[in-house]
Structures are given as structure tokens and as C-alpha cells.
């Protein structure tokens, strides 16, 4: 059975391997270049180090993002082009009626297909993920935003789970739809929906986020205010970054020391005294609340992300193992 499965997937596996090898070669080149540049411009930095960091991030960001996107799109493609046709193609060409009558039970037939083609999917994706995580290490350390959705989903363990899930999803949708093209389209859509849902709805709730009150005077030591605005609705922070952490709040209201909101009138009154907005806010004894997932939860979240994907894959595989021995005609 292993021989037949391999014989059937040989061509596509070799093609994909060639593609992965090309990506890996590029990553190796990028990793070497990245480390040389890091040593020269960051480690040995003497003047204008912040500019050097920005220049470094600008230089290597796009290349790493490209491979990262490949890792995010890759599983969906695996699901559509490997998972969906794996059994559906046999049903469409009728060859299941040939292979199901060899002296191999359908459960074993399915198990070998799932293990071999699914295993290759996971190995390819996971291997590339580990290579990217290694290559991007100095970059990720510098930029320090590993919870960024496009980074989180393309590093370490998460891609292993995605590959497994997309593959089993394609397989099960194929078994249920029995039309390769329909199954491919449905797989792509459902998996894209899954990724969006994970990043925006599920992942923020993997753990109860931390709510921290930050004094205005500490605002730029704990983290960094990206943008701050004053309007008729009062004073608010539109972007707050804490190194390595995942800030969930997207609009943060600023309060005065007495617990009331900082209003436009407060700012205008303060402006007349001639102080900078920063001085004013400190004068108000202002503070704000930030809701975030701390940086040290990164590995817990990676494991949970993997766990969710593996769990869903197991359910899907269960459906396939329940459905296929019952016959499909």
C-alpha cells in the first residue's frame, strides 16, 4: 500500500520538494546576509543606531515576509491540491473500485494515504517553518513583534498544524463533495476562513489577557505610544506597542488622576499655559489601561494554535474513517 501511495504521489511530491528547496536556498542566502548585516550595523553600531535598526528592518522585512506568506498560503494550497484530490480523484475515475478490491481493507488504505501524503505535507511545511524561524531569529529579536498575525502564523509550530489541518480538511471535503473542483474551492475558502477566525477571534482568547494601568509618565518606558489624538471625544491612544507582547486594545481612553476622561477642554485649557501636550498629560496625572497578552505567552500560544489544528484534524480524520468503510456509491 505504501508503494502504491508513493507511486501515485511521487510526481507532485518531487515538484513540491523542488519548490521548497528553492525557498530554502533563498532562506539560507537571506540568513547569511541577514547575520552579516546584523553584526556590522547593529551589534557593532556606534552612531545613529535607531536609524540602523530601521534600515535593517526595511532591508530584510520584505524577503522574510515573502517566505512567511508562502507558509501561510502553502497549507491552503496543500489542502486544495493534495488533500482534496487524494480520494476524490479515485472516486471520479472509478479506480477506488479497483483498489478497494485488493487484499487491503479500506481503513488501511485510508490510513496509509493519510499518513504518507499528510506526513509529507506536514514535513514540508514544518521544515520550511523551522528554517524560516531560524533564519529570521535576529530580525524577530530586533523587531520583537512575534504575535503579529503574519509572523505568528509563519513561525515555529503553527505551520505544522495548519498543514495537517488543511490536508485533512481537503481530504474530508473531497470525500463528502466527491467532485475535485468543488472540493478544492471549498477547501480554499474554508481554510482561509479558519485562518482569519483564528487570528482575529480565537487566538486573542487563548488566555485571559492582562489588563494593566500605565501612568502617562511611564508610557514610553513600558511600551511605546504609536499615535495619540485629541478630539471632541477626548484623548485617546490609537496604537500602543509593548515589546514582544500582543496588545489587544485598539483604542485606549486616557483618564485623569481623578478618574474622569481627559476632555478636549482640558487640553485646550492646558495649551494656554504654554506646556507641551506631554507636560499637560503628566500634569493631569493621566493614566490609561492596556489589555494585552504578555510576551512570555508566545510558546503557550504556539502550542495552543498547534493543538487546535491537530484537534480539528483528528475530528476530520475521524469523519473520513467513519465514512469511507461504509462505501460511497
Amino acid at each position: 500500500m505504501i508503494w502504491l501511495t508513493w507511486r501515485q504521489m511521487r510526481a507532485q511530491t518531487l515538484w513540491t520538494a523542488a519548490l521548497i528547496a528553492a525557498a530554502a536556498a533563498y532562506l539560507l542566502y537571506l540568513a547569511t546576509d541577514l547575520r552579516d548585516t546584523y553584526r556590522l550595523t547593529i551589534t557593532d553600531c556606534t552612531t545613529a543606531c535607531d536609524d540602523a535598526k530601521h534600515a535593517f528592518a526595511d532591508t530584510f522585512g520584505p524577503g522574510l515576509l515573502l517566505i512567511g506568506l508562502l507558509l501561510i498560503v502553502g497549507p491552503a494550497l496543500i489542502g486544495a491540491f493534495w488533500g482534496a484530490p487524494l480520494i476524490t480523484r479515485e472516486l471520479e475515475t472509478g479506480t477506488h473500485r479497483l483498489v478497494w478490491n485488493q487484499s487491503v481493507t479500506r481503513k488501511r488504505w485510508l490510513a496509509v494515504k493519510l499518513a504518507l501524503a499528510g506526513g509529507v505535507s506536514v514535513l514540508f511545511t514544518g521544515g520550511l517553518s523551522l528554517l524560516l524561524s531560524w533564519a529570521a531569529e535576529p530580525f524577530d529579536g530586533l523587531v520583537n513583534s512575534r504575535f503579529e498575525p503574519l509572523t505568528f502564523a509563519a513561525r515555529d509550530l503553527a505551520p505544522f498544524g495548519y498543514a495537517l489541518l488543511a490536508f485533512t480538511l481537503g481530504l474530508v471535503v473531497g470525500v463528502l463533495a466527491r467532485k475535485t473542483l468543488v472540493a478544492m474551492a471549498v477547501t480554499l475558502l474554508v481554510f482561509a476562513a479558519f485562518q482569519l477566525l483564528m487570528a482575529n477571534v480565537v487566538r486573542p482568547h487563548f488566555a485571559e489577557p492582562v489588563t494593566e494601568t500605565i501612568q502617562w509618565s511611564d508610557a514610553n518606558t513600558v511600551g511605546q505610544i504609536d499615535s495619540f489624538g485629541i478630539g471632541p471625544e477626548g484623548a485617546g491612544i490609537q496604537g500602543y506597542t509593548i515589546p514582544g507582547a500582543w496588545v489587544i486594545s485598539d483604542y485606549i481612553t486616557v483618564y485623569k488622576g481623578d478618574g474622569t476622561e481627559v476632555t478636549e477642554a482640558d487640553i485646550e485649557a492646558c495649551d494656554k499655559t504654554g506646556g507641551t501636550p506631554d507636560d499637560c498629560m503628566t500634569g493631569f496625572d493621566a493614566s490609561f489601561e492596556v489589555v494585552y497578552q504578555p510576551a512570555d505567552r508566545y510558546w503557550d500560544f504556539q502550542l495552543l494554535e498547534l493543538g487546535v489544528a491537530v484537534g480539528l484534524s483528528a475530528v476530520l480524520a475521524g469523519i473520513a474513517f467513519w465514512r469511507i468503510p461504509r462505501g460511497l456509491n
Binding site: W3, L4, R7, T93, R97, N101, Q102, S103, T105, G327
Partner: protein
């Protein structure tokens, strides 16, 4: 050889509202070449797919060689199945198919397989997708036979073949059935083919088994009775009426003698296999059979 190759009890298969097979009860002894005949859509493929374990019954029971079809690897090894249109892997070569057979079947007879491929004249390096219909059928037949099953099942093996290839295929089939000493069930809508190679018959129409038995018994026990109108209104016990046709002066009956004794009625005449089958098929469709009149005399 005491275990029946196929035994079913009120076997029924439904797809949604459509009933493909209705309460089929059969008992087929080992060592036969069984012909399954009936019009398209009669349920032949359904019955064979149930026997091969490709699908499961909605209700009723089926046992093949005394066991549930496709129960385990051992049961699968005992049954060879060649599906309709004889599917093969288009991108795999003929040799790849033999390797597949060898790897997937512990009882595989590689010498037999290679010899047969050579005899048929198939090029082992040729992709199966480029074979003709007849060659594909031969390849599928070889794979099914080389696993040395106790029972071979063919679903319309010759439907896609031209008359010449059909004859060659059936000839071939007969040869190695004799060589391997196995039971065979094959479906066909060509009664002539069945008559040539089979010794047991199942007539299936409108999803129901119409009649089943040894062909010799069936032909010996089906009769055409012709008599003046009114003289054939009552039949003795054990003489089943299959079809009746009346003209103003004459009545023609087709009857099945199930008494076990020779029929002792005046004007009785045996009918051929084809006429018998057609009578059952017409009855199933609720039509008056035109074959009741002796047309060939």
C-alpha cells in the same frame, strides 16, 4: 466447497427514495459460473457492488463465501472483482499495475500474471490510460484473477467491447476459470453471452430477483402451453403461471414447473433460455410478452 459463494436474505439497497435492490434472497452454491441478467438499471451493479463489499446494504443480509463482504483483508483476498468499465490507473503502467497487485495481495500469483500479460500481448511499459477498452478489461481481469480468489465477480465485463474483443475476452475467461477452478458471477445484458458461458442464472428486473437457478433446470422446467381458450384456466399445484396471452380461440401460457416431476400436461413445449428470460423481464415491466407466440417456427 459446502459454503455457498453467495447467500442473501431479503437484501435491500436504497439510495434516498430510489430502491436499487428489493429483498433479494439468493443461495448460490460454489463452483458455478453464474450469469446475472437484466435490463440496464435493474440492480445488477448494485447486487455485485454489495457482493464485493463496495457498498453496504440498507437492510437484509449478504454473505460471500460465508462471510460479510470486505470484512477484512482475508475476505478481500478471496474475492476478485472487476468493476464496470474496468477502471485502471491511467498514469500507471501495465507493469506498475502488476507491482500493485503483488504488493497488495499476499496470495498474488506473479507468474500467472506475467504469463497472461505476455499471452494477451500487453506492453508492460505502456501507460494503462493508453490501452484500448479490451486491453483495459484484460488487464483488470488479470489483476483480479492473479490474486487467486475463490470467487471472481465481473460487472458487465464485455459491455464496452466490440464483438470480436468480447468473444476473445469470454474465451479467455472460460480458459482460466477451468485452470483456476473458481466460482464466477458475471452480469450482462446479453443473454447470448450468458448462455454460452454460464451454468447458473439470476434474472433481475425492476430491482427484484425474478427467477434464479441452474440453467439446465430452468430451461427444463419452463414450458409453453397452448390450448383452446378456456381449457387452461386452472393449473395443477406447483405449476406457476408466468405469463398468459389470449386470442379469441386460443390461450398461450408460460409456466414454471416447480413440482420436481416432469410436466404432464397436453400441449406442453419447452422454451429456450432467451424466451424464458424475456418473459420474466416483460412480466416485471407489467407488459404482455410478444414472445409468447412461437415466432420462429
Amino acid at each position: 466447497m459446502n459454503t455457498p459463494v453467495l447467500s442473501t436474505d431479503t437484501l435491500t439497497k436504497r439510495y434516498g427514495r430510489h430502491t436499487a435492490l428489493t429483498e433479494a434472497t439468493l443461495d448460490i452454491p460454489a463452483g458455478r459460473i453464474v450469469g446475472l441478467v437484466g435490463p440496464n438499471g435493474a440492480g445488477k451493479s448494485t447486487l455485485l457492488a454489495l457482493a464485493a463489499g463496495l457498498i453496504r446494504p440498507t437492510s437484509g443480509h449478504i454473505h460471500v463465501l460465508g462471510r460479510t463482504p470486505a470484512a477484512d483483508a482475508h475476505q478481500l483476498a478471496d474475492v476478485g472483482f472487476v468493476a464496470q468499465d474496468t477502471p485502471v490507473y491511467a498514469t500507471l503502467t501495465v507493469a506498475d499495475h502488476l507491482t500493485m497487485g503483488k504488493r497488495l495481495n499476499p496470495t498474488w500469483d506473479d507468474t500467472f500474471a506475467r504469463t497472461r500479460i505476455q499471452q494477451i500481448g500487453l506492453d508492460p511499459t505502456k501507460k494503462a490510460g493508453r490501452l484500448s477498452g479490451g486491453q483495459k478489461a484484460q488487464l483488470a481481469l488479470t489483476i483480479a484473477a492473479a490474486k487467486r480468489p475463490k470467487l471472481l465477480i465481473f460487472d458487465e465485463p464485455v459491455a464496452a467491447l466490440d464483438p470480436l474483443a468480447r468473444r476473445a475476452f469470454l474465451q479467455n475467461l472460460m480458459e482460466f476459470v477451468a485452470e483456476l477452478d473458481i466460482s464466477v458471477i458475471l452480469s450482462s445484458h446479453l443473454i447470448g453471452d450468458v448462455e454460452r458461458v454460464c451454468d447458473h442464472l439470476i434474472v433481475l428486473a425492476e430491482s427484484r430477483v425474478q427467477v434464479a437457478g441452474e440453467i439446465d433446470d430452468l430451461t427444463a422446467n419452463h414450458h409453453r402451453l397452448i390450448g383452446p381458450r378456456g381449457t387452461l384456466d386452472t393449473l395443477p399445484d406447483g405449476i406457476d403461471l408466468i405469463a398468459a396471452d389470449h386470442t379469441d380461440r386460443q390461450t398461450t401460457l408460460i409456466v414454471h414447473n416447480t413440482t420436481g416431476h416432469p410436466l404432464d400436461l397436453p400441449g406442453a413445449d419447452t422454451i429456450g433460455l432467451e424466451d424464458m428470460v424475456l418473459t420474466y423481464l416483460h412480466r416485471a415491466e407489467g407488459l404482455t410478452a410478444p414472445t409468447l407466440q412461437e415466432t420462429r417456427a
